[in-house]
């Protein structure tokens, strides 16, 4: 399958772009850049000023929120298809976590200004992203409700 279809599928399965139509995602897919990282690298560190979203194609990433970027106390382990660093696409706040490369990794990245340009050009992308965000908020609400009910 050509690379573009792989990328489209990854984007469609990500939490940020799941509600953007595949037709519109073609523009986003063309804007993704491939990057390689080696085990032991930090893709970004906590408090960095981030401007990229990452989609993990292969490899393994550990996420830690410890103030010490060297800490290996991971709160999440990411694998194929997982998205991270997405909040920085929308806000301008520093990174809230450190991304540790645990196994050699290939990621697709999307730069913030590039995405903003795409949104201005194809507004339906932003509508889809808003729907995806809304879906995530609903999921979080649902989880909170479940936790509350189980207490």
């Amino acid at each position: 399958m050509p690379d573009i279809f792989d990328r489209l599928l990854l984007l469609k399965q990500s939490s940020v772009f799941s509600m953007v139509s595949t037709d519109d995602l073609r523009m986003v897919a063309q804007s993704l850049e491939k990057q390689e990282y080696f085990a032991g690298d930090h893709i970004f560190e906590i408090d960095d000023q981030g401007d990229h979203l990452y989609i993990l194609v292969s490899g393994k990433i550990g996420i830690s929120i410890d103030k010490d970027p060297g800490s290996e106390n991971y709160i999440a382990m990411l694998g194929h298809g997982d998205t991270f660093g997405e909040m920085n696409l929308l806000d301008d706040l520093p990174r809230s976590a450190t991304a540790h490369v645990l196994e050699d990794a290939t990621v697709l990245t999307l730069e913030k200004t590039r995405l903003r340009g795409l949104i201005q050009s194809y507004p339906d992308i932003s509508i889809g992203m808003l729907r995806s965000m809304s879906l995530r908020i609903r999921e979080v609400n649902f989880r909170l409700l479940s936790v509350k009910n189980n207490k």
Binding site: L9, Q13, S121, P123, N149
Partner: protein, 898 residues
């Protein structure tokens, strides 16, 4: 096997546990109720006498009102299961106490007391059971599952009835109270265990807590009464209930009178009641399982709502003509089989469409006020009439009451869809107001709001409101915009002054001139252009003096003035010289010359020829410029160009159609008239499907201008699926303003509904096939198909806007797009209740399946996954086709995604 049964019973994946619980719970409650009812009736009728029954109705009505006050205070304030627990506990104590009193003393007062305990408890249980289900299901689930769960209740009633037949002669009627008590205890345990495991009812929303419960009770009922003024559905429903109760209890009394006369002993009467209950409940069960759902789906809620009123009229009429056992049994069949099978589920569905805050109070008002009032009236009527010679004296008022019940049921039907839409609109927070873009002719208040926007300190906000003002209130716009422009920076003033071009400016020429004099040269040129368009003599004279100006825009305006008004000033030669100078000069001058392209038409053939090649050179140079603004200017200039252009220019136009900047794409689309033949059509089609609305609109305008028959072309593209769905939506929207006959849109809706079914079938086939193979390309195709399905649904709803009230369809559309199952259910229900039968019915079904993700009918259109892939690959929609072809490629088969 189980799955097949679930599908037959319309149970969707994940609902099994919930359904089983409700079935079991309702069975327990109903079995207990059957025992309670038969024992209460038999003990009362045989140990006290039928002649006291009307009196009991009166006492029962007062008791119901009092108990309902308490119910109203708690009904929607605490989770339904919590209330059930309290109710069960109270009932257990009361039934045990009754049994003990009957066993320990000979006081006959205990029988009416027990009768009243049963009657009041049964009413509260019935109302509260419906509320309990509503707190645990959305409307769509309720519509599917309510009949099934009520069927479970019937099963319980049959079991209870059969138990009576066997147990009454053995244990005696009185001791059967203990059996009811045992069932109540089991019910309480079941509900406690269930909610300990699964938490509170899912759709329960607790209102604010209050200190004064009694005041709240009255207030709840008072609010219920107030809602009847606001809601025509609640008003009709309350009146229908009033007359239903009246006719129902007359029917009950008549039947009981016949049964008491027919059966001599208490045990034989109890056994008969048990047998009757089991039989009528078995019929009810059959109806609920195999008829109710299908009848509601086929005939609609509104038709089924009329069934029970009609049968009640018929039964009372039968009794009038023959006051005998068969007529009494027919009456019992009506109230014990038809009522639970048709009337109760439908009434619950009618209540469901009321706003949530209304439902609890409306129910409270029904049992605290409407039901007791009707019952009291019935009691009084029967006390007066029962000693008269013939039962006709109370049966005729019964028939009249049933007739009025029928009448108000019809009123309920009329109010049903309206209420459904109003509730949906409220829940979705849809505005009553139209958007500003549709404001033409709106009132002063709206105008004030726009004026405030125009005077907003933020220039962008002011510009946006200036556009609205110019479009909606042209007569007020000029003065207000001119005033606002005087306090703006030159560049912003220039933008809003351009909005005045289509408006009447003669009376404001001096003001405009003053603005131009105080602004920079750019603004001066804009003002000059505006006034030249209106033929302002003073401006023509002033413009001519600018023929040799150093400012290219002023020079361009001067050329325009000289050519447009050649008789006023003899300076055509000077104008031609200036024009040629502009075209041969730098980029800025060439950009300014773009404004003069329409003036070419004013020249003679030879003069034109001199300039045409200069213009072509200018276009080529400007389009090759690195500045976006310059390219944009050239593209906008080409909008007015009617001559042949070079292949380089065409290539530049096509190149800019793919620009990321929507302004560039829009400008490039405006040049498509320069391209001929099929390529032009295909590029326009691409533009109409663009991701930016402005580009789409320009594409539509271009199609209008180049196509011989725009409407025919648009319809062909829609019906043939030649355009992307986004393009089809844009085309359809444009056609909706063309006042085409309704049949055109009906045909579109019909054909696209067919496409929805195809897409649903394609999705199901692929999903089932993918369980085995797991192919990445197919996964993408599934997403694409799902999007196509959603967009096709949007397209159908858009087409319906031309067939029905636009506001109604927009509410339905919003409900469907909300993604919330409750709103989708109400939207589908509203759609299903619109006129034009078959088409809407199919569409409503398709939408419900789409919303629920249950597309059913596997293999209806496609033999297998490969068939679907081939269909996609051959599809008119280029993206779907591309995905289909990709998924068909054998090299990729087996490539799995994570």
């Amino acid at each position: 096997m189980i799955n097949q049964l679930e599908r037959k019973l319309l149970i969707q994946p994940g609902e099994r546990g919930n359904v089983l619980y409700f079935l079991f719970f309702f069975m327990l409650v109903s079995a207990g109720m059957a025992i309670g009812r038969s024992t209460a009736d038999a003990l009362f009728l045989k140990r006290l006498g039928i002649e006291y029954l009307p009196l009991m109705y009166i006492v029962q009505s007062m008791l119901l009102a009092a108990v309902s006050m308490v119910y109203a205070a708690f009904a929607d304030r605490i989770p339904a299961e919590k209330f059930f627990r309290a109710l069960f506990a109270t009932l257990i104590v009361l039934v045990l106490a009754s049994w003990f009193a009957m066993s320990a003393s000979n006081n006959t007062l205990i029988y009416p007391a027990y009768y009243l305990i049963y009657e009041v408890a049964s009413e509260v249980l019935l109302v509260h059971a419906a509320l309990y289900m509503n707190q645990n299901m959305n409307t769509m689930q309720a519509k599917r599952l309510t009949p099934l769960i009520y069927a479970g209740a019937q099963l319980g009633t049959i079991a209870g009835g059969l138990l009576l037949v066997v147990a009454a002669p053995v244990f005696g009627t009185q001791n059967l109270l203990l059996l009811w008590c045992g069932l109540l205890i089991t019910g309480a345990v079941v509900i406690i265990v269930r909610h300990k495991r699964h938490g509170a009812s899912t759709h329960f929303r607790a209102p604010k807590k209050s200190q004064n419960m009694l005041q709240d009770c009255v207030e709840q009922i008072h609010q219920g009464v107030k809602f009847t003024y606001r809601s025509s559905l609640l008003r009709a429903s309350s009146l229908a209930l009033f007359f239903m109760v009246l006719s129902f209890y007359i029917l009950c009394y008549s039947a009981n009178r016949i049964y008491t006369q027919t059966f001599d002993t208490e045990e034989s009467l109890t056994r008969f009641f048990g047998l009757l209950t089991a039989t009528t409940s078995a019929v009810a069960l059959f109806l609920q399982l195999f008829v109710t759902n299908r009848a509601i789906s086929h005939f609609g809620v509104r038709t089924i709502n009329l069934l029970f009123p009609w049968t009640t009229v018929v039964c009372l009429t039968f009794l009038t003509f023959s006051f005998s056992l068969p007529s009494a049994m027919l009456g019992s069949f009506n109230k014990d089989a038809l009522m639970p099978a048709f009337r109760n589920p439908v009434r619950s569905m009618f209540f469901n469409v009321l706003p949530g805050y209304m439902q609890g109070r409306a129910r409270a008002m029904s049992i605290a006020l409407v039901l007791p009032l009707a019952l009291m009236l019935c009691g009084v009527l029967l006390i007066v009439m029962q000693h008269l010679d013939s039962p006709v004296y109370f049966l005729v008022p019964g028939i009249l009451a049933a007739g009025l019940y029928l009448l108000y049921s019809r009123q309920m039907n009329k109010a049903y869809v309206g209420t459904l839409l109003t509730t949906l609109k409220e829940r979705l927070f849809l505005p009553d107001k139209h958007m500003y873009s549709d404001l033409q002719g709106c009132g002063d208040k709206t105008l004030d709001e726009i004026m405030q926007g125009l005077n907003h300190p933020d220039a962008e906000v002011a510009v946006a409101f200036a556009r609205i003002l110019a479009g909606s209130f042209p007569e007020k716009a000029v003065e207000a915009i001119l005033k606002r422009a005087s306090s703006m920076e030159n560049a912003t003033a220039d933008r809003i002054l351009n909005m005045l071009a289509p408006l009447e400016l003669a009376a404001h020429a001096d003001e405009l001139r003053r603005l131009g004099e105080h602004g920079d040269l750019h603004l001066k040129a804009t003002v000059m252009r505006l006034l030249l368009k209106k033929g302002d003599q003073q401006t023509i004279a002033a413009a001519i003096t600018q023929l040799d100006s150093n400012n290219p825009r002023l020079q361009s305006a001067a050329i325009h003035a000289a050519l447009r008004y050649p008789d006023a000033h003899d300076c055509l030669d000077r104008a031609m010289t200036s024009w040629q100078t502009l075209l041969a000069s730098d980029t800025t001058s060439r950009q300014a010359s773009m404004d003069n392209i329409p003036d070419l038409a004013l020249l003679s053939g030879q003069e034109q020829q001199t300039l045409l090649s200069d213009y072509l050179d200018a276009f080529t140079a400007l389009l090759a410029d690195t500045s976006k603004h310059t390219v944009l200017c050239a593209l906008q200039g080409l909008h007015h160009w009617q001559e042949r252009v070079s292949p380089d220019i065409i290539a530049a136009v096509i190149h800019n159609l793919s620009s990321e900047d929507p302004d560039m794409r829009q400008a490039a689309v405006g040049c498509l008239h320069l391209i001929k033949g099929d390529q032009c059509s295909s590029l326009i089609l691409q533009a109409i499907g663009d991701g930016h609305m402005r580009v789409r609109e320009t594409g539509i305008d271009m199609l209008r201008s180049v196509s011989g028959d725009y409407q025919e072309c648009a319809l062909e593209w829609i019906s043939g699926n030649q355009a992307s769905l986004r393009a089809q939506q844009a085309l359809l929207t444009s056609l909706m303003d063309a006042h085409l006959p309704g049949s055109v849109f009906e045909e579109i809706a019909r054909s696209k509904s067919g496409e929805i079914l195809l897409l649903q079938d394609a999705l199901t086939t692929l999903e089932n096939a993918d369980r085995d193979t797991g192919n990445a390309a197919r996964s993408l195709l599934q997403y694409t198909l799902r999007e196509q399905l959603d967009q096709t649904i949007e397209l159908v709803l858009l087409a319906l806007e031309s067939l029905y009230d636009r506001e109604t369809i927009r509410i339905i559309h919003a409900g469907f797009s909300s993604g919330d199952a409750r709103h989708i259910a109400n939207a589908c229900e509203a759609l299903g209740n619109l006129d034009k039968g078959a088409m809407i019915s199919n569409l409503s079904d398709a939408l419900q399946r789409a919303a629920g993700g249950d597309f059913g009918h596997k293999g209806q259109f496609f033999a297998g996954a490969d068939d679907v892939l081939r269909w996609c690959a051959d599809h008119g929609n280029s993206w779907l086709s591309q995905c289909g072809r990709q998924a068909l490629q054998p090299a990729e088969t087996g490539k799995k995604h994570a």
